[in-house]
């Protein structure tokens, strides 16, 4: 096989390319979720009263606490980047570990919330939809499930990546900052998506 040659002439060039590539990738994520937000916006536009009524049925406080958890995890991710930039590999690993732990916390609380909704008959899945009486209610809950589900999938990927990175850095005396920065960017974007999902789904009044 041919040995591959680096297209780069120096590290700064490579760093700049990596950052730009990541921001472009995040742009595609924004557009992906954007389609879902468009669907939610249209549903609210066409059925304003029902949309608000069903938004009220969600667990506003669970959502709020989960926002707190996720924002805090983002702080940890930012601190990990800071540590990595200072060359403190082990500290970066610790902060990344905390980030992943809070991410797991978010998922656990989210799972609890889904379970509650299932028991209340609000979840549009077999056996859990007993209380869904009218079509728009079902549609709203479908959109809720699809968008929070897609978000959870992204978060799960994020947790895996962050954990893997923390593991690699656990004994590192120094750290290359780029992987941590890139991973951090992804994590923050997942956070941003939730920051919009929360008011749009839970706080419609």
């Amino acid at each position: 096989m041919t040995e591959s040659v680096s297209p780069y002439t120096d590290r700064r060039q490579r760093h700049a390319a990596d950052m730009m590539g990541m921001y472009l990738f995040l742009g595609t994520e924004i557009m992906l979720f954007g389609g879902l937000f468009a669907a939610m916006a249209l549903t609210r536009l066409q059925h304003p009263a029902e949309y608000v009524a069903h938004s009220r049925e969600l667990h506003l406080w669970i959502g709020a606490w989960n926002t707190v958890i996720l924002l805090t995890s983002s702080l940890f991710a930012a601190l990990a980047v800071h540590a990595a930039r200072e060359g403190a590999g082990r500290a970066a690993a610790r902060w990344l570990g905390a980030t992943a732990a809070f991410g797991l916390g978010f998922l656990a609380l989210k799972a609890t919330e889904y379970t509650l909704e299932f028991r209340e008959g609000l979840l549009p899945v077999t056996g859990g939809d007993g209380a869904l009486s009218e079509p728009v209610q079902r549609l709203f809950m479908h959109l809720y499930l699809v968008s929070t589900g897609l978000h959870a999938v992204h978060l799960t990927i994020g947790i895996c990546v962050v954990t893997g990175l923390a593991w690699r850095l656990r004994r590192a005396e120094s750290a290359r900052a780029i992987p941590v920065e890139i991973t951090g960017l992804y994590w923050h974007l997942i956070d941003v998506v939730w920051v919009f999902l929360y008011p749009v789904l839970y706080l419609a009044r």
């Binding site: 950052m19 730009m20 921001y23 472009l24 995040l26 742009g27 595609t28 924004i30 557009m31 954007g34 937000f37 468009a38 916006a41 249209l42 609210r44 536009l45 608000v52 506003l60 709020a64 926002t67 707190v68 924002l71 805090t72 983002s74 702080l75 991710a77 930012a78 601190l79 980047v81 800071h82 920065e181 951090g184 960017l185 923050h188 974007l189 956070d191 941003v192 920051v195 919009f196 929360y198 008011p199 749009v200 839970y202 706080l203 419609a204 009044r205």
Partner: protein, 86 residues
């Protein structure tokens, strides 16, 4: 201001904005409520992008790349909205 301090302050600001948006949901209804929800979310996103994602240190080019997708979603919502509302 040290970096750590800045990060923690940003986090505090984000939590404050969260409290604000929850409070707004109890106080406002209809379009003002929607405006508050989206407006505050946008403010939070801006903080996250600016500080946590270090756009404040980045070059102009990277800033444009980072927020271009939001502008493009703006097109979808503006012209799509027009098609429904006009």
């Amino acid at each position: 201001m040290s970096v750590t301090r800045l990060l923690v302050l940003t986090w505090a600001a984000l939590l404050l904005l969260l409290a604000l948006t929850v409070a707004a949901s109890f106080l406002l209804v209809g379009p003002p409520s929607l405006a508050a929800g989206i407006g505050i979310a946008a403010a939070k996103a801006a903080l996250i992008f600016w500080v946590f994602m270090h756009l404040r240190e980045d070059t102009g080019l990277l800033r444009v790349v980072a927020i271009a997708a939001f502008a493009w979603l703006g097109i979808l919502f503006a012209l799509g909205g027009l098609a429904y509302l006009g």
